[in-house]
Symmetry: C2
Subunit: 142 residues, 2 copies
């Protein structure tokens, strides 16, 4: 039981490292959190699914190159780990400085991590825009 | 290696059962595909995340009660299983008959399954609206 709690903490720490890399707008740092595999996948809010290291990393470079600054507040984290897979669902409150000013967005995220040699690596990220609040306790619209 | 392939096939079959239940608009059938746990989560397109059996099942009843008919074409399925967790990403092409006519939507989905006593149960569904195609081969906009 203690092991399971530790795994969950480790998955949460990997999730935090992902958002720290996101906020840094540093493609090298973002590369360091993903598993280098052909089956990694990423769906940015409103986008189709991207498959594989090349497509996923290219998307981060595109996002980072069109963004001057980004601040994340991550809320409502739920994490589970079963064996060598862990997942986190959370809400991203994002403030972005882009070409035409500052924008705010709320994104619902699913992040999936795989353990290899004792470390947890991101294998799937799915972010979706929050349009309606399904539950008052979950809304936290900005 | 053979086992891993079988696991993936089983996860794909569980994914098909989920969409068959969705299309049936039958809440009992939908209940039968989910793991009865407090940590199950569901994010419908545009919605916030719902947590737990009660909230998740209530959402299906709401969706089913406001829908007269639904047809799914599921495309681009990718499945993986590691230990007792498996996940599928796919594209849902949906035709819905609702109060004010017929609507078409394309949804990008992440579905996570947990194995218990040899069967795979849905523990997390995340659907998001497709707004822009990130890759021509993935677009398939209707």
């Amino acid at each position: 039981m203690a092991k399971k709690v530790n795994d969950r903490d480790d998955v949460l720490a990997a999730n935090e490292a992902f958002y720290a890399a996101f906020e840094s707008l540093d493609a090298d740092r973002m590369q360091a959190v993903w598993l280098k595999e052909s089956y990694i996948t990423c769906t940015h809010p409103g986008w189709a699914r991207l498959i594989g290291w090349g497509s996923v990393m290219q998307s981060w470079r595109e996002i980072f190159s069109s963004t001057f600054g980004m601040k994340f507040v991550i809320a409502d984290e739920m994490a589970h780990a079963i064996g060598d897979l862990g997942w986190v669902t959370c809400t991203e409150h994002i403030e972005s400085r882009v070409y035409d000013g500052v924008s705010h967005a709320t994104v619902i995220a699913t992040n999936l991590f795989e353990r290899r040699q004792g470390a947890w690596w991101l294998v799937h990220h799915h972010g979706s825009p929050l349009v309606r609040a399904a539950d008052p306790s979950e809304s936290q619209l900005q």
